[in-house]
């Protein structure tokens, strides 16, 4: 499987004060890695403010993102695990432990990484596995298709 995620796309045990801060922390990875302009962070926060916390896809996992547009440079993800779980206001899937910020330009790379997110977290135990993991390499390998050994 091709490499979807780099080690520099991942940060573990991140402190965040609120959901906006958690989104910002993943956004900062996307900015640092040259995937988005800094304005994209506000775009992601606005998406939740306007449409609600639907980006909490399943218990413990949020996937903030915004429309493809001028603020996205190339597709990719910024992955963080939170030192303390945070509520996004989702009725069924709070609290969030893992945040995967998504930048997409509706290309093949973007669809592949979204599909991989779904495949990885279909195993419901992965959220807590991620949340307690202290090795970014393991997380990277999981996203890049390495067989999961727990």
């Amino acid at each position: 499987m091709e490499k979807l995620v780099n080690i520099s796309d991942i940060e573990l045990g991140v402190d965040a004060s609120c959901w906006q801060d958690a989104v910002k922390k993943t956004g900062e990875i996307l900015v640092r890695e040259g995937r988005v302009k800094s304005e994209y962070i506000d775009d992601m926060i606005e998406t939740v403010e306007n449409l609600g916390p639907y980006i909490v896809l399943c218990p413990g996992l949020a996937m903030p993102h915004a429309r493809p547009g001028g603020n996205v440079i190339k597709s990719g993800v910024g992955i963080i695990t939170l030192s303390e779980p945070i509520n996004f206001g989702n009725r069924t899937n709070d609290p969030v432990k893992v945040v995967v910020g998504l930048a997409g330009i509706n290309d093949n790379a973007h669809v592949k990484v979204v599909q991989r997110i779904a495949e990885v977290f279909e195993d419901e135990t992965m959220i807590d596995y991620f949340a307690t993991c202290n090795d970014r390499r393991i997380i990277m390998d999981i996203f890049n298709g390495k067989e999961i050994k727990k």
Partner: protein
């Protein structure tokens, strides 16, 4: 049959919904096409669709009165998608139940 999966931007959760709905439909033996769409164009896309699939939080942000809708809590869980689609198709007599 045509199904539309709607999310806020048409590029995140609806991509996952589309993928999982396609798998569920295959398992259920139902012939259908699934498209994903964003909220802004989703309603127009839904007008000529037989069914809308959408997440619970987002279903509050769009008025889908008059449309056939299946609402999901968990986008990732293939079983939930399959169970809810199966329940819907049974209620419509499309599947035996």
């Amino acid at each position: 049959m045509k199904i539309v999966a709607i999310c806020g931007c048409g590029m995140g959760s609806s991509v996952i919904l589309k993928m999982n709905a396609q798998k569920a439909l295959k398992d259920l033996g139902i012939e259908a096409t699934v498209e994903n769409s964003d909220l802004a164009t989703g309603k127009a896309a839904a007008a000529d669709a037989d069914l809308v699939v959408i997440g619970r939080e987002l279903s509050d942000a769009i008025d889908l009165t008059g449309y056939e809708v299946v609402v999901l809590d968990n986008f990732i869980n293939k079983n939930e998608v399959k169970e809810k689609l199966e329940e819907y198709f049974k209620s419509k007599g499309i599947l035996n139940g």
